[in-house]
């Protein structure tokens, strides 16, 4: 055990000697955090630009544009029809609103006016949301117009000036808008609705997964240096070598994740002290499981290239099948395959703590699986390891 700790200390010393690696290792969590802050640090959850071709230039088309302009997160880009067509063609925009010439005149004369959406494919998620917001603005104008027509028709011949009717109707609609008859209240249960809470578990799992590729290279690096065979002619046993490497990789993966969690704690204030500690425990156990899988790769790889390639494939599998950034439907084939991904369990545990305000005790089954993988993975890696071909 003592010699295993010397191996760990030596690894840490080598890591500290490599200034480039050290800078990368410590700066990466800060950089990741900066990206997270850029992505999730703003107040608005949806931001988009509405590309509009206004061929009408009348009062109602302008009214529609003004209504869209005051929606939070929406900015307006007015285009000519030719520009909009070209942008759609190049996929620079996925959806554009065309307000045809005569739109206002048609409405004024009591006719039925049409708005046109042109889109590439289904317009993308952003386009679909924009289209929904535009439909809602058009519905408001429609409602306003119908209320006004109805009032004018009812009061016709009673000597009330049209401008007074218009003013009264608009005043009524404005009040209705400020104090709607049917209100909607948002109630959030089981955690925050902030996007960062939804994505942070995935980001952390990706991060801890670095431990897998680090450990995959642990043994081949010794082999390349020539120190592997030399070490195995000393009193150091192969088991001590593996355990020492395993500990050093957990330490590296854990320190990086710790930096990321501390920054998230300080800036986004996502955690209570207890949930922060719970995330550290999950990170530690997950790093151990990832390191153990990496050690299996290390045990079977003869070169750094093969270790890297196997680690990349395994990492991709873990990420894609493990609910890391997108939800896999339950009871699907992918969900069944996903049971072989460490991310599935780690992500579930982090989500329980970060997004659902759960306690560490709620994650015991995931932690038990990850700890089991760590122990069994380390054991298997030692069993299949051969210092040189033909050795036992």
């Amino acid at each position: 055990m003592k010699r295993a700790l010397f191996i760990t200390l030596n690894e840490v010393r080598l890591y500290l000697q490599d200034k480039g690696d050290l800078a990368f290792g410590l700066l990466l969590p800060i950089l990741t955090f900066a990206l997270m802050y850029g992505a999730f640090g703003g107040d608005t959850m949806f931001k988009a630009t509405a590309s509009i071709v206004n061929e009408d230039q009348g009062v109602y088309s302008q009214q529609l544009i003004d209504k869209l302009d005051i929606v939070d997160g929406i900015s307006i880009e007015l285009l000519t029809a030719a520009d909009a067509d070209a942008k759609l063609e190049r996929s620079d925009v996925l959806l554009a609103l065309y307000i045809p010439a005569g739109f206002s005149d048609t409405l004024t004369s009591g006719g039925k006016a049409e708005l046109v959406f042109k889109q590439r494919g289904n317009g993308g998620l952003e386009g679909q949301i924009l289209a929904s917001i535009i439909r809602s603005a058009a519905a408001e104008i429609n409602q306003e117009f119908q209320a006004l027509n109805q009032a004018q028709s009812n009061l016709e011949g009673k000597g009330i000036p049209v401008s007074d009717i218009e003013l009264t109707v608009r005043d009524f609609l404005e009040k209705e808008l400020q104090q709607p008859s049917v209100g909607v209240t948002e109630e959030i249960t089981g955690g925050s609705a902030e996007f960062i809470n939804q994505y942070l578990p995935g980001i952390i799992t990706m991060y801890v997964l670095f431990a897998l590729s680090l450990s995959a290279r642990a043994i081949v690096e010794e082999r390349r240096r020539g120190t592997l065979e030399r070490l195995l002619t000393t009193r150091l046993s192969a088991s001590e070598l593996f355990f020492g490497k395993f500990l050093s990789i957990i330490a590296r993966g854990f320190v990086q994740t710790f930096i990321l969690l501390v920054l998230s704690y300080a800036v986004f204030q996502l955690f209570t002290p207890l949930s922060f500690l719970a995330c550290l425990v999950i990170s530690f156990v997950f790093a151990a499981a990832a390191a153990a899988v990496g050690m299996i790769i290390a045990a079977i790889s003869r070169t750094e290239e093969s270790a890297n390639w196997i680690a990349v494939v395994v990492t991709m599998f873990m990420v894609m099948m493990g609910n890391t950034f997108f939800q896999v439907a339950e009871d699907s084939v992918m969900a069944t395959i996903g049971k072989f991904s460490l991310n599935t369990y780690a992500n579930k545990a982090y989500t329980t703590i970060i997004s659902q305000n759960g306690a560490l005790g709620d994650t015991w089954s995931q932690l038990a699986i990850l700890a089991g993988v760590a122990v069994i993975g380390l054991f298997i890696s030692r069993m299949i390891f051969r210092a040189v071909p033909g050795s036992k």
Binding site: D18, G226, T227, E229, R230, T233, S237, S391
Partner: protein
């Protein structure tokens, strides 16, 4: 009668259908420098790997310092030091850190490891470079560090696998003098090299291997006597006569 420190009894090692070592037996006396020569692919490295506990023989036994490798590999590892042919160092660490680390691995405790490291660095003429990063050392200095590391833990048997490859005559001579000094202090050495004059100068006895077998084993003088006058023939003449002139892999 000389005390046998290493006894190799009829060892065999195959890799699939290839017999790398095929019934090798020899013994090395305590305090002896024993040369193991042979062309590439003769089975020298496999033999050394079996003696240094990295590989297990398919059959036969090896006794080192009274311990059978089969039953007491750990006891054997505690009395051997290995200086591999390729440099086996942490180039990003200092010479002293390398020495102390391998000393700890050899079972030397804290301060004693540091003291022994400094003593061995002094022996190799590198005491003033103790804190220098190995990556910045010359080839000769790295070779000397490679040898100094093998001495950590005060081994009783030293494996030197081509320790002088690619270095200048001064460094080579320094290494020779050190090996001879260690022999005087009772260290047993198994030495492999492709430089015949080195084996001639250093080794008390020489075994020549080819095709996984020992084809000759005697003192340099006696080996030379087999093909002519020992004053006129060289060890290289003997080697080429026994192993042939055809090129090897």
């Amino acid at each position: 009668m000389a005390e046998e420190f290493v006894v190799v009894k009829e060892i065999h090692k195959s890799f699939k259908d290839f017999k790398a070592v095929n019934g090798v037996s020899f013994s090395i006396n305590k305090g002896e420098i024993f040369g193991l020569l042979g062309p590439n692919g003769a089975g020298k490295t496999t033999t050394i790997r079996m003696l240094s506990t990295v590989l297990e023989a398919d059959s036969g036994d090896i006794i080192i310092g009274g311990h059978s490798i089969k039953q007491e590999a750990e006891a054997v590892r505690s009395i051997i030091g290995v200086c591999p042919q390729d440099l086996a160092l942490y180039e990003d660490l200092s010479a002293l850190d390398n020495m102390v680390f391998f000393g700890r691995m050899a079972g030397v405790e804290g301060k004693a490891a540091r003291a022994q490291a400094m003593k061995n660095l002094e022996l190799m003429g590198l005491e003033d470079r103790a804190k220098g990063k190995v990556a910045k050392f010359s080839g000769g200095m790295k070779r000397r560090i490679n040898l100094a590391i093998a001495l950590m833990g005060s081994p009783q048997l030293l494996f030197l696998d081509e320790p002088t490859v690619g270095i200048d005559p001064q460094s080579r001579n320094h290494i020779f003098e050190n090996i001879q000094g260690l022999q005087k202090r009772g260290l047993t050495v198994l030495y492999t090299t492709h430089y015949m004059e080195e084996a001639d100068r250093l080794c008390n006895r020489i075994a020549i291997m080819d095709g996984g077998q020992i084809i000759a084993l005697d003192t340099s003088y006696n080996l030379k006597s087999q093909i002519g006058s020992p004053e006129k023939v060289t060890l290289e003449d003997v080697f080429l006569k026994l192993t042939g002139r055809s090129l090897r892999d």
